[in-house]
Every structure is written in structure tokens, then in C-alpha cells.
């Protein structure tokens, strides 16, 4: 019995043993299946969850003004977020957090008790707040480093600079237009993450270093910008105007020196301001230019040779029936020479000039001066303006267009048209960004002055300048624009505003403007001042011209232009106030007596001087860089007739 039970248990133990062995074999085979047969597939599946493409945004580049004054900076900001599921004791934490962050307790507890895995508690906290939250050491409440954009000059040029949103997305202005440059290459790395989405530091995984975005230097001059904004505000307040715009351009290069809009916009708290207020209207809005547009007509008429400066026109004593309507002048004039038509701004005279010119030719010049299509300025939202094609013109349009009605242009377009008159007849492309720097300060690229086309001859441009000088200095409508010590050429405008609601023109709404350049014969700046819906007085010559005078006076001083030196010798002080003064080696500019056979020495000239000189000598130049000419090819003395183009290297 005992023996049989022993053999019985032996066989049962053997059976149990075999059963266990079988189970081990099954487990071993299962392991083989999972690890070898399906191993690669499962491993890939794992990598999909471990390795997350982590996009790292580089530090956004700085925006500087032309003398390296910072206008937009990126700071290391911090934000507080919550992982509600990891949070214990939300009640107690809520009170402490609400106190530190200055938030409502109810709001904090709502976020702490959210059923989402990730909730922002407060974005962009102060360093002190972050420190105190950190000190609480609550599991589930964490600090996230977020870049914060800061505009040290506040509202200054706010419309131009634009702004970035809370997630560093560019939304307006230079920030938007040059976003790719400023933002830089966002780096991405495959990082290991744990199941809660946190990064895991695994040995061998190097912290990814990505270069910051590029810095951008504007052509904008902070001092001139500041002056323009100050004057705009003063005028707007004085005349209870709805707003104002000022555009200051370097006429030879197209560099924007100032671009101001009133009311101002402070990009530091963009959320507090209406979208309307964020718009850079100097670029994005078009308006009826009014009488300032007569310069376009006049230049066209002179260029086409249909009039000369002294041709007399009968101005019908203030009333002129034309195409079924009656054209009025604000003052009744009899016979006026062509130049006085512009200087006194006679609509009837302008109509008669336009009749002589005819609409096809007038239209050709409207287009040549750049109206009806974007200037190509490097800022977002530029419209083409509204210029109807000539075959759509009604008979009355020839008259209205002659004094700038029924057509709409942007402030920048108008400024560039005047710049063409100022610089001797060449339409330039305007630009606001001068160059971009890499992280080590090396120049990555530069915007070069770019010629759009020649619009009128130098002779026409000079004649126009003389006529426009008379507007300011010769008893014309722009007398109040005169700047002490400088000769100013310009034109006033007082346009009716289109009634957006009823159509036609609003009874009382006016746009007062003045556009001009100084010094008239060696212009260093072209400036347009527009005052929108002034109430006390509506005339451009009264409202806008004094603002021009104040801004231009300050700007010319800032640019170092010596007063009363109105000859062709450029002032020794350069546009680059920060750069050292260089001794100029070049001889006198004019080489015409020698038949312009020799290439002169350009070394030491500023960009602007070089452009002016090359144009005078009818040399094609290729510019590399900005600042001062340090090298030229071919060198001075070569036969100018034999070279295709002159290459100038500039630095500064």
C-alpha cells in the first residue's frame, strides 16, 4: 500500500513536472514570438510613442533701427501650467497660487480641476511670480519657459514693427514680413519622452543647440520717427483730427526713414488695442491724393513737351464747365502760367493741362509713377491702390484725375512718386529693412536700393522741383512748410473724403496733406504728412505743412545736413550717425567736360552719394553692401565707355 502510494505520487509528480515544463516551453515560445518574430514591429510601435519630434523654436531675432537702437527684443519668459491629473490637494494649492499670480480663486480652482491633461494657469508670468510658484513645489504645477517679445520703445514705430502673438506667431509689420528671418530655423530633435509626455534625459542624447533667429536692422531712424510721431500727435490733437500719417523716405535709395501713424499702437500690449488701430495705414490704406497729385500731371505734361513752365492758361475765373459738370477753384484766377497753376493749385488750370496732355498719355505717367500697383515695400498688407484703366475713364475723369480725385493711392506710393521727382526722375522701390545679421554679427544679406524705372528725364525732374519750390517759397499754398535755412519743394493737398456709406463725397470730411522734399536741389528726404479729418481747419497748407516744417527741420539736423549749403556738394556728415566720418578722396563729381570718359573715384562716398554720382555720370552701378564705398571695380581712371557696370563694395 505504502509502496504503491509512493509510485502513485511519483507518477503524479512526473505528470505535474511535465505540465510545468510544457508551460515553460509555451512561455519560451511566446517570448520568441514577441521578441524575435514580432520584435521589429513592436519596437517600431514603441519608438512611435517614445520618440517625439520636439520642435524647438530658436530665440527670435532682434529688430534694430538704423543706428542699432533695439526696437524689438526677445526675452526668456515663463508660463505656469498645470497637470490636473498629477495634482493632489488642489484646494490648498489653489489659494496659494491665486495669491501669488493675482488671479481669482474660483478661476484657479476651475483650471486646477480641469479634466484635461494640460492646462495653462497663467502665461507670461514675472520672474518673481515664477520663483514663488516654484517655491511652492506642488506636484503637477510646473513652469514652462516661453520666449517673450518685448518692444523697448513702446509705441514708437509700433505699426511698422508689428508684433508677435503669445505663441510667438508673427502677426503684423516687420515681425510678420520678415518672420522667416527673425524666427530662424526651428530645430527639431527626436527626444525620448515618458508616458506623461515629459522629456527624459537619457545619457548620450545631447541637448540640441539651435542658432537664434537673425537680427534685423531697419532703415528707420528712431529720432526722426520719434519726431514725426510727436508732431503728428500735436497736429492731430490741435485740429481734432481722426488720425495722421507721416512717411519719410530717402529719395535716392528708397530707404524709409520714418513711417508714423497716429493714433499710435503699442505692440507690448497688442490685445488691448483694436485691430483697426494695429493697421499700418501708411502702407495698407489708400486715399484720394487730391492736389498733391497735380505734380504727376505736371511732370507728365513737361516730359511729353505739351507745356513749358511759362505757358499761360486761362483759369476761367473759378468756374469751368467740363463734360457736363462744373469745375471749381477755391480762388478765382484768370490767366496763370503753368507753374502757377501748380503753385496756386488751380483745378481748372490742371484740367486744361490734362486736356492738352490727353488721357492716354496722362494714364501712362500715372502708371509710370507707380500708381495702381504695390510699390513692393517689405511690409505686409500693401494694396495696389485704385487706378481705373484708361479705357474705363468717363469724360469727367480726365478733369478729376488731374487734381487727384477719383483715384486712390497709398501714402507710400505718393511718397515714392515725389522721390522720383526729387532724385532726378527715377522711381525707386521703397524698403524698410536694411540688412540681417547672423548670431555672430556677420551680415547675412542686405536690401539694396532698387530702381523700378526712369519715369521722367532729369530735366523734367529739375523743372518740377523748381515749380514745387515755388509752392513753398514763391507765395504758393505751401508757405507754412518752409524750413529755416533750407529750400523746400512740395505740394499741398486738401481732398474730400469719399462717403463710405452714401457714396460720393462726404460733405465736411477732408484729408489735409503736404508732401515735399528738402533740401530741394540736393534732397535728403521726401516727406508726406497726411492729417485725416481735421476739424478746425481743413487745408493742407495750414494743417499739414507746419507739421512738415517741424519734422523736416529736425530730420535734416539729425541727418547732419548743413543749412544754406544747397549746392551739389553733399554734406560730409553721413546718414550713418554712428559710423566714423571718412575722409573723402574723390575729386569733384562733374566729369562732363572730359566727356565722362574716365571712371571717377567712388571710394569714401556714402551709398547715397555714390548712387547720385553714378546716376549723374550715367554709369550703371552694382552695389554690394551699405554704408561707405571701400572698393570699386574697375578702379578709378578706367575708361567709362568700355565698362558695362561699376561694382561698388560698401561697408559700414
Amino acid at each position: 500500500m505504502k509502496r504503491s502510494s509512493t509510485t502513485g505520487i511519483r507518477s503524479r509528480l512526473t505528470a505535474a513536472g511535465l505540465f510545468f515544463i510544457a508551460l515553460f516551453i509555451v512561455l519560451g515560445l511566446r517570448a520568441f514570438q514577441l521578441q524575435i518574430l514580432e520584435g521589429a514591429k513592436l519596437k517600431r510601435l514603441g519608438e512611435r510613442q517614445h520618440l517625439k519630434e520636439l520642435v524647438i523654436q530658436p530665440k527670435r531675432g532682434t529688430i534694430l533701427d538704423r543706428s542699432a537702437e533695439p526696437l524689438a527684443l526677445s526675452l526668456e519668459g515663463q508660463s505656469v501650467y498645470v497637470r490636473p491629473q498629477r495634482l493632489k490637494g488642489a484646494e490648498a494649492a489653489g489659494h496659494a497660487l491665486a495669491q501669488i499670480l493675482g488671479m481669482e480663486v474660483s478661476e484657479v480652482s476651475r483650471r486646477l480641476n480641469s479634466n484635461k491633461p494640460f492646462v495653462w494657469l497663467k502665461r507670461k508670468v514675472t520672474p518673481k511670480e515664477a520663483e514663488r510658484v516654484e517655491a511652492l513645489n506642488i506636484d503637477g504645477v510646473e513652469i514652462y519657459p516661453e520666449p517673450d517679445r518685448y518692444y523697448p520703445q513702446g509705441q514708437l514705430a509700433g505699426h511698422v514693427i508689428g508684433f508677435v502673438g503669445r505663441d510667438s506667431q508673427a502677426l503684423e509689420g516687420v515681425e510678420l514680413h520678415y518672420d522667416a528671418v527673425l524666427r530662424g530655423e526651428s530645430g527639431s530633435s527626436r527626444v525620448e519622452r515618458d508616458a506623461l509626455g515629459r522629456r527624459v534625459l537619457v545619457q548620450g542624447v545631447e541637448e540640441l543647440r539651435i542658432p537664434p533667429g537673425s537680427d534685423i536692422q531697419l532703415t528707420l531712424d528712431t529720432s526722426i520717427q520719434h519726431l514725426a510721431e510727436k508732431e503728428l500727435e500735436a497736429v492731430a490733437v490741435k485740429y481734432r483730427a481722426k488720425g495722421g500719417i507721416a512717411v519719410v523716405v530717402e529719395p535716392f535709395t528708397g530707404e524709409i526713414l520714418a513711417l508714423a501713424n497716429y493714433p499710435f499702437f503699442n505692440p507690448n500690449n497688442f490685445t488691448a488695442q483694436a485691430a483697426q488701430q494695429r493697421r499700418n495705414r501708411a502702407v495698407t490704406d489708400s486715399f484720394e491724393p487730391g492736389s498733391t497729385f497735380k505734380a504727376v500731371l505736371a511732370a507728365a505734361a513737361l516730359e511729353e513737351g505739351v507745356v513749358s513752365q511759362d505757358d499761360l492758361f486761362f483759369c476761367e475765373n473759378g468756374k469751368y464747365p467740363f463734360a457736363g459738370k462744373v469745375i471749381h477753384d477755391s480762388h478765382a484766377y484768370g490767366w496763370l502760367p503753368f507753374s502757377k497753376i501748380i503753385q496756386h493749385s488751380s483745378n481748372i488750370g490742371a484740367t486744361k493741362v490734362a486736356e492738352k496732355l490727353n488721357k492716354q498719355r496722362y494714364f501712362k505717367y500715372i502708371e509710370k509713377f507707380g500708381f495702381g500697383r504695390p510699390t513692393g515695400i517689405d511690409l505686409p498688407g500693401e494694396p495696389p491702390g485704385l487706378v481705373r484703366p484708361v479705357d474705363k475713364w468717363a469724360p469727367i475723369d480726365l478733369a478729376t484725375h488731374s487734381f487727384g480725385q477719383g483715384i486712390s493711392v497709398t501714402p507710400v506710393q505718393l511718397a515714392m512718386a515725389y522721390a522720383a521727382i526729387a532724385n532726378g526722375g527715377i522711381l525707386m522701390r521703397p524698403f524698410i529693412v536694411r540688412r540681417a545679421f547672423g548670431p555672430d554679427g556677420q551680415v547675412l544679406w542686405e536690401n539694396q536700393p532698387r530702381v523700378v524705372r526712369r519715369v521722367v528725364s532729369e530735366k523734367t525732374a529739375r523743372s518740377m522741383t523748381n515749380i514745387l519750390k515755388g509752392v513753398v517759397g514763391g507765395g504758393g499754398t505751401g508757405g507754412m512748410a518752409a524750413v529755416d535755412g533750407f529750400e523746400v519743394a512740395g505740394k499741398t493737398g486738401t481732398a474730400q473724403k469719399a462717403d463710405q456709406v452714401r457714396g460720393g463725397y462726404a460733405a465736411k470730411k477732408r484729408v489735409a496733406s503736404f508732401i515735399g522734399f528738402a533740401p530741394a536741389d540736393d534732397p535728403r528726404l521726401v516727406m508726406l504728412v497726411i492729417i485725416d479729418e481735421p476739424e478746425v481747419n481743413v487745408y493742407g497748407g495750414v494743417v499739414a505743412a507746419p507739421a512738415f516744417r517741424a519734422i523736416a527741420g529736425g530730420a535734416l539736423r539729425r541727418l547732419g545736413v548743413a543749412p544754406d549749403k544747397l549746392d551739389s556738394q553733399p554734406s560730409p556728415v553721413s546718414r550713418e550717425s554712428a559710423a566714423p566720418q571718412l575722409e573723402r578722396k574723390s575729386g569733384p563729381v562733374g566729369q562732363k567736360a572730359d566727356g565722362a570718359s574716365e571712371v571717377p573715384d567712388f571710394v569714401g562716398l556714402s551709398l547715397r552719394e555714390a548712387v547720385a554720382k553714378a546716376r549723374e555720370l550715367k554709369l550703371r552701378v552694382e552695389l554690394r553692401g551699405t554704408g561707405y564705398v571701400v572698393e570699386q571695380s574697375p578702379s578709378a581712371g578706367a575708361n567709362a565707355a568700355k565698362i558695362g557696370a561699376l561694382t561698388l563694395n560698401l561697408q559700414g
Binding site: 502510494s5 505520487i9 515553460f24 520584435g39 513592436l42 514603441g46 525620448e192 515618458d194
Partner: protein, 365 residues
């Protein structure tokens, strides 16, 4: 191997020693980040486990020296104490509740799991009782029913904790021991049939258990919820492939696997040490079981035989269930891997059980 001139089962001892070494290493690997986050001390669990292993080794040597007959004498008091402790653990205010379960008793400043103690006591009781009734084993009311009733009581106390994994193992141990003791096949079948409604009730009664069962059948059906854990375990094994990622290199332990240092530690072994590591651990447990079973066959008296078999089965089944679960061959979860998973009570009791096997091995014929 000889120890004090007495023959000890060297294979068995070595298998346990190597498993213990692997286990302590894996506890450090799997718990480091978790401990770092929770206690700002990466070695928190590791140090506790080292202490438990130290205490357990002392227990192992003491147990190895105690003659097995002594256990037999205290079989009933031990079972009584075990039942009492199980009941105490369920009483609010006395037992400790963690994560919705009442499995612990505060004992000298540490949380002790009475179920671990009860497992051993139950096996000792069964070995004693089956040996005593070995002649009547084929009579249902004498040889089977009392053990089933006592077993059912122990199981019930563990099920309500709830600790289904432990209860399941214990049920299998009961059936195995009845089988080896010579119970009739038909009786074993009755037990199985009788257990079915209870199992069905336990599964359907709690929704999460049903979900778990369904996800076992097809984890990919609901990969982000109920199937999540087992899929994460698959990924761990798959990522290990043949050679493994290397010690400490597991990704799945970074919160993808829940309880990587306890219930899913074998998955991390699979990931860090590959198929080779998995087969080694399987082999070590196989050695343990084969040596335990052969020891059982070599022992002279039924009590020693049943005790050796019961202890072997207890350790072996826990290992098999743990490994089967993490490889998706079985539903349920919540079972530690003997000698390897983190957990003081289990570690100490498992080492004592191993010590008892060694003690038995000294009495081989």
C-alpha cells in the same frame, strides 16, 4: 554543495540566489526614476528591497535549519494566525488601504501583506492535513471537502481584499496538491465546476475585471484604454529583441508600463535583457521547479513530500502566472514575480519558502 557537512540542494539554492541577484538589479533599474520623482531619492525602493532581501536571507537560513516536522506541529495554529491576520487587514482602522485595496497590516512600522504569510500557512496546513488523511484522500467528504472549505475561506478573504491574482494562484496550488495527494479526477472536476460560478461572479461583478478579460482576448481592440497595459508590455518585449536594450535602458518603464517594478517587472527584463535574459529567468525558475519536484519524489514521508510539492508549486505557479500575464497568455494582473519583483512581504516569505525547501532537501533519502 555541503553546508556544515550536510547535503544541501545546491542547484536549488543557486537558482534562488541568481534570481535574487537579478531581482535586486531589476528593482533598481525599474524603480529608480519613479523613486526619484516621488521621493527625490532614486534608490528609495532599491534600499527597501535590499533590507527585505537581507531579512529574507536570514529567514531562508533559519528556515533551512528548522526541521520540517516542527512546521507540522504548528500547522493549525499557523493557519489560525493567518486567517486572523487576513481578517484584521480587512478591518478599517486596523488594516491599511492603498489604491482601493486592503491588503496590508502595519507591522513594526512596515506594511505587511498577510496574504503572503497565509499562502505559506495554507500550504503547510494542506501538506499536514493531506498527509494525515492520505488513506481517505479518495473519499470526497474526508479527503477533499475539508481542504476545499478551508481553502475557500482563505481564498474568499483574499478575494475581498481584493487580490485576485494571489487568490487564483492559491486556488491552483490547492488543486495541484489535491491532485498530487491522489484525489479523484472526478472530485477535482467538481471543484472546478463549483468554482466556475464564483469566478464568473467575480469577473462579471466588477466591470473593470470584465474589461480586463475582454482586453486579454483582443488587446488591440481598445489599445488606448483597457488594452493599453498589455500592449505596453508587448512593446517592452518586442523592443528587447534578442539581446535587449541593455541594463537600465528600458523606455517602457518610463510610466508606459504601470508598476514596472512589481507587476510588470518581467516585461522590463524582456526589454533590457532581451530573449536571452527572458530564457535565463525562465530556466532558473524551471530549475527551481524541477529540483523541487524531484525533491518531493525523493522524500520519505507524505507530509514532507506534499510540503515540498506545495512550496514548489506555490513559487512556480506565481512565477508562471506573472510571466503568462505580462506576455498576454493569461488575463488578470497584480501578481509579483517571486525573488524579483519589488515587495517586502513577498520577498521575505518567498525566501523563507525557499529555505524550507532547502531544509527538506537535507532530509532526502
Amino acid at each position: 554543495m555541503t553546508k556544515d557537512g550536510i547535503a544541501v540542494d545546491g542547484w536549488l539554492f543557486c537558482a534562488v540566489a541568481v534570481l535574487l541577484a537579478v531581482g535586486i538589479t531589476m528593482v533598481l533599474s525599474t524603480s529608480y526614476l519613479h523613486a526619484q520623482e516621488r521621493f527625490a531619492d532614486g534608490t528609495y525602493f532599491f534600499r527597501k528591497q535590499l533590507i527585505a532581501a537581507g531579512v529574507g536571507l536570514v529567514g531562508l537560513f533559519v528556515a533551512a535549519l528548522i526541521p520540517p516536522a516542527l512546521y507540522r506541529r504548528f500547522a493549525y495554529p499557523l493557519l489560525g494566525i493567518a486567517l486572523l491576520l487576513l481578517i484584521l487587514a480587512l478591518i478599517p482602522g486596523v488594516g491599511l488601504a492603498r489604491g482601493g485595496a486592503r491588503r496590508w497590516l502595519p507591522l513594526a512600522g512596515i506594511a505587511f501583506q498577510p496574504a503572503e504569510f497565509a499562502k505559506l500557512c495554507f500550504v503547510v496546513y494542506l501538506a499536514h492535513s493531506l498527509a494525515k488523511k492520505s488513506d481517505k484522500i479518495r473519499e470526497f467528504s474526508i479527503g477533499v471537502l475539508p481542504h476545499v472549505l478551508i481553502g475557500g475561506l482563505v481564498l474568499a478573504l483574499i478575494v475581498v481584499e481584493p487580490d485576485l491574482g494571489t487568490a487564483l494562484t492559491l486556488g491552483l496550488v490547492l488543486i495541484s496538491m489535491l491532485f498530487v495527494a491522489g484525489a479523484k479526477w472526478s472530485h477535482l472536476a467538481y471543484i472546478g465546476l463549483a468554482a466556475l460560478p464564483a469566478v464568473a461572479f467575480a469577473v462579471v461583478g466588477k466591470e473593470y475585471r470584465l474589461r480586463r478579460l475582454l482586453s486579454f482576448l483582443d488587446p488591440w481592440q481598445d489599445a488606448s484604454n483597457s488594452g493599453f497595459q498589455i500592449i505596453q508590455s508587448y512593446i517592452a518585449f518586442g523592443s528587447g529583441q534578442l539581446w535587449g536594450r541593455g541594463l537600465g535602458e528600458s523606455r517602457q518603464k518610463l510610466h508606459y508600463l504601470p508598476e514596472a517594478h512589481t507587476d510588470f517587472i518581467f516585461s522590463v527584463i524582456g526589454e533590457e535583457m532581451g530573449l536571452l535574459g527572458v530564457l535565463c529567468v525562465l530556466g532558473l525558475f524551471a530549475v527551481l521547479i524541477v529540483r523541487g519536484l524531484s525533491l518531493s519524489g525523493k522524500l520519505g514521508d507524505p507530509f514532507s513530500q506534499y510540503l515540498a510539492f506545495g512550496l514548489t508549486t506555490l513559487l512556480g505557479l506565481q512565477a508562471l502566472v506573472h510571466m503568462g500575464v505580462v506576455m498576454g497568455l493569461m488575463p488578470t494582473k497584480g501578481l509579483v514575480l517571486p525573488f524579483i519583483s519589488y515587495g517586502g512581504s513577498a520577498m521575505i516569505m518567498n525566501l523563507i519558502e525557499a529555505g524550507m525547501l532547502i531544509s527538506l532537501s537535507r532530509r532526502r533519502r
